[in-house]
Amino acid sequence: MPVPSVEAGMTTPQRSLWPPLAVLALLGLAALLLSVTLGSAALSLGDVWAVVRGEGSSLARTLILDLRIPRSLSAFAVGGLLAVAGALMQVLLRNPLADPYVLGLSGGASVGALAAMLAGLGGAVITGSAFAGAFLSTLLVFGLAHGTGSWTPSRLLLTGVVVAAGWGAVITLMLAISPAERLPGMLYWLMGDLSYSRSPWPPLALLLTICLLLLPLGRSLNVMARGPLQAAALGVNVRPLEWTIYLVASALTATAVTTAGSIGFVGLVVPHMLRLVLGNDQRLILPACALAGGTLLVLADTLARTMIAPEQLPVGVITALLGVPSFLFLLYRSR
């Protein structure tokens, strides 16, 4: 009996998972290299190689090891976190329009960060305050959506949208009453800005851990995407899985937002683009999101640093400007 052929988009046999991931990993590596060589002072690949071998001028060493590599890695981690969080939220809410911010997470984080800035505090306090805000928003939305009955995707979505609108009003209020000299910093934070990011290792470690943790859950997530009753009938423990997705996506988003402010579009656009090209097998989509989201944000941040150097643009503007047309194009071309 002839073995059925394996068409594109069919992700059944094991081997078909690896080629796309390998391509995405290479693209990510290339983007990281590019971002390290480009900047207000351009460096050649030779300079980078020299520094990696422990040679090169002290200026090049500082530039590469202390500034560009940490920042590029932060960008990669944040992009990956947002894209994976978006893909998870979309499965949880069974709504392809869900994104990591849809449940008011970025609003809560923004209010926390802006409050710290308004109080004139800086650095680690902003980060801590943003994380607390994101966490508070998560609890608020989940607690309220739970209400007296069971939570349904539409109820969770509505609660999140309304809570997000509330945070939006608080943000506008804070911007209106804040002194003029603090405004640029606050606006940059709201648009997403990687110059605030500290060590890239915590978000990178989280991204890797979560990707490994999600690996065995992939097929259950595929079944979950067909609805909770169908999933339960096929042997999935629906409620614990939903909790896991929700908590994981919240932690990912909170970490991303506290590292780099609220950066839009990555969590919505990246999973979508990948689904249009690779199909909807979460075992492939989730790691692919980590790689592609990271790559996209590294490129966007490189553009944000170099377009009007030495001035910088908020990276959120770039992700939107890159993401919107490419997304619309893919959607237009898809069947």
Binding site: M1, Q14, N95, P96, L217, G235, N237, N280
Partner: protein
């Protein structure tokens, strides 16, 4: 043994007083039909039997073991349910959809292999939709989707089949083909229970019937003893005319 036992079961139909407790056993080889008017609780009964919702009272036993004591995965290995409604939020192909029936049989680290793919292809073939394997589910007609839902459960290969109006949206030929498939599953030693709206399909293909009245009353037994025009007229609140074709009764609503 692939027996589905129901003991003193009171189904939790929202907004209704406790109905009559059901005690019956769907034996391997039997085809049970559940008949009743809209809102009588047929779907709720099937969901309760599949463990998707709890009963108000009583027990469901799969192979002599209480459903509540079994893990979801274990249940999914012995019991399959064809849903009446289905939602698809994300695009998926017909083949991928049939293949999710293998979920309860694979460990978390396992990918679907050649054998799983072969089972899915065979199920699609059996339901006459193999030529649609690459199509997106959202582009299918209602009847094709219905057949895909049955193919998914066929891929799941349960020993107990529960089917919620399996002939919905199907043309006449495929109605017969699907009923023949379910009868064949029973003949191979599996237990089958389905909700039906078509009295004549029930009369032709089911060997046992469960009648659910809207007030919670119920009666059950071998088909020939249940297909009494007076009882059926009371069940649906509709006068019926009866004829006989090929030795099976045929019921037609009277104007």
């Amino acid at each position: 043994m692939n027996r589905l036992e129901i003991r003193e079961l009171v189904v939790d139909v929202p907004g209704r007083r406790n109905g009559q407790a059901l005690t019956l056993s769907v034996e391997p080889g039997q085809v049970w039909g559940v008949l009743g008017p809209n809102g009588a609780g047929k779907t709720t009964l099937l969901h309760t039997l599949a463990g998707l919702r709890g009963p108000r009272a009583g027990q469901v036993l799969v192979d002599g073991r209480p459903l509540a004591s079994l893990g979801r995965r274990q249940v999914a290995r012995s019991l399959g349910l064809v849903f009446q409604e289905r939602h698809d939020g994300f695009p998926a192909t017909v083949r991928e959809t049939a293949l999710i029936g293998r979920h309860p049989w694979l460990s978390v680290w396992q990918m679907e292999g050649g054998e799983d793919l072969r089972l899915a292809e065979a199920a699609l073939e059996r339901l006459d939709i193999a030529h649609l394997a690459e199509r997106l589910v959202s582009t299918l007609s209602g009847g094709e989707r219905q057949r895909l839902a049955i193919a998914t459960v066929l891929t799941q290969a349960p020993q107990i089949w529960l089917a919620d109006e399996p002939t919905n949206h199907l043309d006449l030929h495929h109605q017969s083909a699907v009923m023949a498939l379910l009868a064949e599953q029973a003949a191979e030693g599996r237990a089958v229970m389905m909700c039906l709206h078509d009295l004549n399909l029930a009369a032709r293909w089911c060997d046992h019937l469960l009648l659910l009245y809207p007030d919670g009353e119920a009666c059950w037994g071998p088909a020939e003893s249940m297909l009494v025009p007076a009882a059926l007229e009371r069940l649906y609140g509709q006068r019926l005319a009866t004829a006989e074709i090929d030795g099976a009764p045929v019921f037609v609503p009277v104007r």
